[in-house]
Symmetry: none
Subunit: 416 residues, 2 copies
Amino acid sequence: MRAEIITIGDELLIGQVINTNASYIGKKLSEIGISVARIVSVGDVEKEIIDELKYALDNFEVIILTGGLGPTHDDVTKNAICKLFNTRLVFNESVFNQVKEFLAKRGINQINEANKSQAFVPEKAKIINNYWGTAPGFLFEEGGKIVIVMPGVPKEMMGMMENFVINYLAPKSGENVIKQRVLKTAGIAESHLYEKLKDTVAEIEKFCKVAFLPSALGVKIRITVKAKNSSEAEKIINEAEEKIKTKIGKYIYGVDDEELEEVVGKLLAQKGLKLAVAESCTGGLIADRITNIPGSSRYFERGIVAYSNEAKIQILGVPEELIKIYGAVSREVAEAMAEGVRKISGADIGISTTGIAGPTGATPTKPVGLVWIGYSDKNETFAKEFRFGDNRLENKQRASQMALEILRRKLLGIEI
Amino acid sequence: MRAEIITIGDELLIGQVINTNASYIGKKLSEIGISVARIVSVGDVEKEIIDELKYALDNFEVIILTGGLGPTHDDVTKNAICKLFNTRLVFNESVFNQVKEFLAKRGINQINEANKSQAFVPEKAKIINNYWGTAPGFLFEEGGKIVIVMPGVPKEMMGMMENFVINYLAPKSGENVIKQRVLKTAGIAESHLYEKLKDTVAEIEKFCKVAFLPSALGVKIRITVKAKNSSEAEKIINEAEEKIKTKIGKYIYGVDDEELEEVVGKLLAQKGLKLAVAESCTGGLIADRITNIPGSSRYFERGIVAYSNEAKIQILGVPEELIKIYGAVSREVAEAMAEGVRKISGADIGISTTGIAGPTGATPTKPVGLVWIGYSDKNETFAKEFRFGDNRLENKQRASQMALEILRRKLLGIEI
């Protein structure tokens, strides 16, 4: 079963509102095995709505349409639908009672014309109740095609989807379910990842789909499977994951919504280790990410944002000569920062960053994007050099991610 | 001039990625008077891309297409474009040099096949340089139609839009323009803001549109104007802004994309003052935000994330008895933290946060969401109590925003 989603509203076209409705509906339909082939947004223009609906009816089995059902003058969806299905708007007593009841609950007892107009619905349609607002949804089913029309207010649309639409469509879909899994990697470029996985991908693409999605926090590998039922989909996806892990397992830090700070936090808590962080170019971002995780006070001792050289010397114990000789952005200072914050705080592990986030601060030998990341525990202290890009915020992101990734690998005994 | 936006990628259809690209492009085109009539998302399927492009070419003058240009096997946009425009992919030396240069800056000197494939571009097309990634964009102009193709990575697409596309299209458009301005407030609830502005909004809505958009960082007031040309739109929007400012000016910290950390940073730089921050519940978020601003090293001396009590005592000089008597989350400790970080660092101003971000850590008298924010300069030290919500990340956001807002008001001599 294939579907098209049509979202109506000028606010979508001029970029005033981001189309979260379409992604929500896309996700819900995928989960019950209906594959969304197309998403279209058009304005509140009758002809364009009708044209798009005709195209959708010619090509797909399910059409979900949202928006343009409000009581104001610019909402034209109902008329467009009536023309297309050769029906007319009729007053529906039961919808009218619902509208009155909904408003009464909010202390509104005076019903105006705009409210009343909500009770006019296409004669041929089946009504979908709206318990979250005043505009009813409706449904047409004809010749193997299903058209579902809902308001564009996210809360109302989501209420109808969860309360009615999903339950109505799921048994009709019957065939396939779509499942996805995202494997998140850090510390390897997309092209290198692809090189290492080319053959594996060719092999597993016989029974699923693989996509590479790069970002400042690393490359995500998304596996998509279509199968007869949920357990079969799970089986296929697990096999694909295993095959990928065999090749590049060490780069994968998490699955689906798992964040690196969460993974690292769990490892620290399990091992009963305390962490302290000394940041220069990341400016507090590492501490911020670590403390986003509930319960992080168990393993996070302190963070020092040593932006000035004085702070590096005074609270991290970095020897002044090191800064003089090698500069603040250097292997030596990164190591001294990591070791300093560990020793002074009494934590088990110290990590540090020092670099040139940009856009200013570069020197002939030290370009924007140069970052040293330091690590120190009771057995060893070292620092690694990275060259990121020229975007300040992205450099902070990337440096924070690599610092956490180095920590993850050390905690797991993976080579860096 | 009417436009269609085509966004390509399975991740959009299954709801894994929200289509922010389309709304960004829609907004940018509206601002230069090009009206977006239609937004379509389809998967990485050659035939569907071609069909949609044909429809768009038949109906609109401008077509903007994003996505499916990466170096991996699932990116099919380039082939689709070649078939449609009856051209072929040719190796472009100058693009290849750019790709190599881009990778070299990131320390990657080994060019693989996937990287090299980026340098194959449609023979007939004009190249749009990509300084933010490796996939070039391109442009076809034929028979009064303009087709622009860009990568789907938001940063790359936005770079090309701002660097090239808008400048290229703006002179060709020349019609009605839509302008928006956002006034950003902090430290006042939406309902209170609305009460103060009700009459003003009724008055200015005669010639423009006003919307209130609440978030964890405060309430934004958005003014939208449609006018014949840019200078007329500017005039109307300036008048509306003035009227709003007369009523609630002290709550407005910035306009449009201006962030509070940027506003505060400018004030500190102007006054030649140095800031130090001592954070507990915000966990580094304030330091992170401050150091997001280029040049912040001029006024940001250090940040201390004193998550443990030991850190508060050891590096901020908070007296141990204060924590014992009043608890770490208290007026007394917030004040001692702000004063401590200021004195020890030698900065002019110290700010601090201590609170219960949640979900754990609450006591019968100290609920989740309770936060004390401290401020200290050479003349005074004080702390203010806030009650935020029960969402950890939002509590961090709100506390960081209020700390910066208190700083802003102190720097401007506005009552708190």
